[in-house]
């Protein structure tokens, strides 16, 4: 092995890489927030069994869950061009991630909701609680505890999958790395540092999620 590592090139570009890491976090957080909002509607539509809407929700969920993320991103970036819609790389990755997150989270929400027995709903009704109170104090808190962990996983997944922005020239962490390595030809060094940065980001997210859950669910099983 006669390869000489040149780390200086990488450390000079560290501010730009961190900027890229910020874009990565940015796009994943946004995709989660929008994904959660849409997922709530999808889950409700699917559970309601009203003909046009439940089929639409099922179609969305199944397409999101059964096709590759890379395909979704290509679809948003190249495919929508056929309809005259030209998205920027950032928007294309965001749209694809929102689409997939919504599909996966809708199933998570549905599972969480159905895991709470009907008996609890009836019991709180017979105690004289209103519909709003039942959901506010009985159903939703329990549901939230059950979907908290899958939601964290989905967030980590979104961070990792935003790295596909490299293929459409987005300026997130991987895309920036790709740009700098093509300028300096220090491919190995740049991608090693990027791998470490991704590891740190995901660990940081998982650790904060664990700390938050400890506080939120204190004293509960």
């Amino acid at each position: 092995m006669n390869y000489e590592f040149h780390w200086n090139v990488v450390f000079q570009k560290m501010p730009e890489l961190l900027q890229g890491a910020f874009v990565t976090l940015h796009v994943s957080v946004l995709s989660m927030v929008l994904g959660i909002v849409i997922a709530v509607f999808l889950a409700i539509a699917k559970m309601n069994n009203k003909p046009p809407f439940n089929y639409m929700a099922s179609t969305w969920i199944e397409i999101a869950r059964n096709t590759p993320a890379l395909f979704q991103i290509y679809m948003a970036y190249f495919g929508l061009g056929a309809f005259g819609i030209h998205l920027s790389p950032y928007m294309a990755v965001l749209c694809a991630l929102v689409f997939i997150n919504a599909g996966y989270l809708a199933e998570t929400f549905r599972g969480g909701f159905q895991s709470i027995p009907d008996a609890q709903y009836n019991a709180s009704k017979s105690l004289g609680m209103t519909n709003f109170q039942t959901y506010r104090y009985i159903i939703l808190p329990q549901m939230f505890r059950r979907i908290y962990h899958p939601m964290t996983n989905q967030f980590v997944w979104a961070i990792l999958m935003s790295s596909l922005g490299i293929l459409v020239g987005m300026n997130e962490l991987s895309g920036e790395t790709q740009r700098f390595q093509s300028l300096s030809f220090r491919t190995l060094e740049f991608f090693m540092v990027t791998a470490v940065l991704y590891y740190i980001i995901t660990k940081f997210v998982l650790l904060s999620a664990a700390l938050i859950s400890k506080r939120l669910f204190r004293g509960e099983i």
Binding site: R65, T67, S174
Partner: protein, 217 residues
């Protein structure tokens, strides 16, 4: 006029079929190797002490917390720099198998840990040796219960195999990408690709859900 861009024709069928075969090949091989390694790793984690577990766990953790696309680029450049560049199929299979192993390991670990200790004690007291216990009790019971989870990971590997295109392996998405740059018909080709993945993934995921329901009942 024989322009630069020519529309999609029947002559492209062979090209697309090659892509499809390559996608099936690399995901099949990676799932097979990844499952075999995953069973070993899962068993090792269920069986060993805290220190070994921690070391093994952190290696798997790295594989799960770095994006697959970065792992692929890193590994193939690394081998190139070391003076022994690997063909895309080999490099892709190695990375995808290890990635699969990292997820399968956790799945199987859960399966092995779900086998009750009393069952192991009972089989040992019936005079079974350590290996017989593994062969006839722990493996069959532990492996059967995780089938739906295994299928879920396998399906995600089929979908993730699309990423191997970045190191130059001619799987389905890369062939379609090349067809798109020639024909300039992105929508038709991409929808075709999407339908292919959907037709593989959807029936299997339905089957997995049915087994899961049956197991729960």
């Amino acid at each position: 006029m024989g322009g630069l861009f020519t529309p999609l024709s029947w002559n492209d069928t062979g090209f697309i079929l090659t892509g499809i075969m390559n996608t099936i090949l690399i995901s099949g091989v990676s799932i097979f190797i990844g499952t075999a390694l995953g069973v070993m790793v899962g068993f090792a984690r269920a069986e060993s002490n805290k220190v070994v577990n921690f070391c093994l766990g952190s290696v798997l953790d790295v594989l799960r917390s770095v994006p697959l696309i970065i792992q692929l680029i890193l590994f193939s450049t690394f081998m190139g720099v070391m003076g022994s560049p690997l063909p895309p199929f080999v490099a892709g299979t190695i990375v995808l198998s290890l990635y699969t192993m990292a997820f399968m390991g956790e799945v199987f670990r859960g399966g092995f840990e779900s086998v009750q200790n009393s069952m192991i004690v009972a089989s040992r007291s019936l005079g079974m040796t350590y290996w017989q216990t593994i062969r006839y009790v722990r493996f069959p019971i532990g492996l059967r219960s995780v089938f739906p989870a295994w299928l879920g990971v396998a399906l995600s590997v089929i979908k993730d195999s699309a990423l191997v295109s970045v190191i130059g392996f001619m799987e389905l998405l890369r062939t379609s990408e090349q067809l798109i740059s020639r024909t300039q018909q992105p929508l038709e080709i991409l929808i075709g690709v999407g339908i292919f993945y959907f037709l593989i993934s959807y029936p299997l995921s339905l089957y997995g859900r049915r087994v899961e329901r049956k197991n729960a009942a």
